[in-house]
């Protein structure tokens, strides 16, 4: 990710932090928690891909190469699987840059995968402990995301 994009993302994040952290500045733009997580995830996957000499893809941008697809999303069989009550068996990789980003943000990727998959698809019908895990791990992810974006802004 180039420095210009990085600064833009970090500036958006800091605008949110100014209010939530009790800072004196008024936010120019608010980043929702969901977008904060997405911004941090992109930061991490960009770093991961560029370390491998690959160009990170952008929404609506030129088609990425197969090498980028595999480096980002993983290869072979999905290592994590979960069967939903409707019968769909959802899989998710533990290899690849996206998986590494999830571990960095949420800590326990297996536990996050189960919680987020169930909550996304079952909503309030998801088991209570999985809904609790979702809240816990998402809060953890937000803390990590804010720290990452802030550190990135300060170092760029």
């Amino acid at each position: 990710m180039n420095r210009r994009v990085l600064r833009a993302l970090a500036a958006l994040f800091l605008a949110v932090c100014a209010t939530s952290c009790g800072g004196p500045r008024q936010p120019a733009v608010s980043l929702t928690p969901a977008d904060t997580l997405k911004a941090a995830q992109v930061l991490l996957t960009d770093r991961c891909l560029t370390r491998q000499g690959l160009t990170p893809p952008r929404p609506g941008g030129p088609a990425a190469s197969g090498a980028v697809d595999r480096a980002l999303f993983g290869t072979g069989r999905a290592e994590l699987t979960l069967e939903l009550p409707g019968g769909q068996v959802v899989g998710h990789h533990t290899d690849g840059c996206l998986a590494a980003a999830e571990r960095r943000l949420y800590g326990d990727q297996r536990r996050w995968f189960r919680a987020v998959t169930l909550v996304n698809n079952l909503k309030s019908r998801a088991p209570r402990e999985d809904r609790a895990a979702y809240k816990e791990l998402r809060a953890h992810g937000l803390t990590e995301a804010r720290a990452l974006l802030s550190a990135s802004y300060n170092h760029s």
Binding site: T75, G86, V89, G91, H92, N120
Partner: protein
């Protein structure tokens, strides 16, 4: 009734999670930025790529879908989740029940009990 449904869901998940259900034999080859649906299980057969919404799948894939993958690209303000619906989204229909919601990186190699239930999909900020 709600309590019963929750108990039933918990029971199904308790038996389903962590089981060595057969993992897909092959990788989901799906270009970055796309949602893909295949006519066969385990990402085989014909493949539909979609970087945008498609509220009325073509007949060769509508209700013929057996595996899916979301390789959407994330970013702040970017719609990177995919919702698959069992019916086409054509007024007055709003697509019927949502079959599944996939976040980036999610893949569904097969459906043990309810195959071929996709007729439309939309991209969304979340599920």
């Amino acid at each position: 009734m709600k309590q019963y449904v929750s108990l039933l869901v918990a029971a199904v998940l308790a038996t389903g999670t962590g089981l060595a259900t057969a993992s897909p034999a092959s990788a989901a080859e799906c270009p970055s930025g796309n949602f893909c649906a295949w006519t066969d299980a385990n990402f085989g057969g014909q493949r539909m790529n979609a970087s945008g919404d498609d509220e009325w799948w073509e007949s060769w894939i509508a209700d013929e879908d057996s595996s899916w993958a979301n390789h959407g690209i994330s970013g702040p303000g970017v719609k990177d989740h995919v919702k698959v619906y069992e019916s086409a989204i054509q007024f007055p229909s709003t697509g019927g029940a949502m079959t599944i919601c996939l976040r980036p990186g999610d893949e569904v190699g097969y459906n043990a009990t309810a195959n071929d239930r996709g007729d439309a999909h939309v991209w969304a900020m979340g599920c």
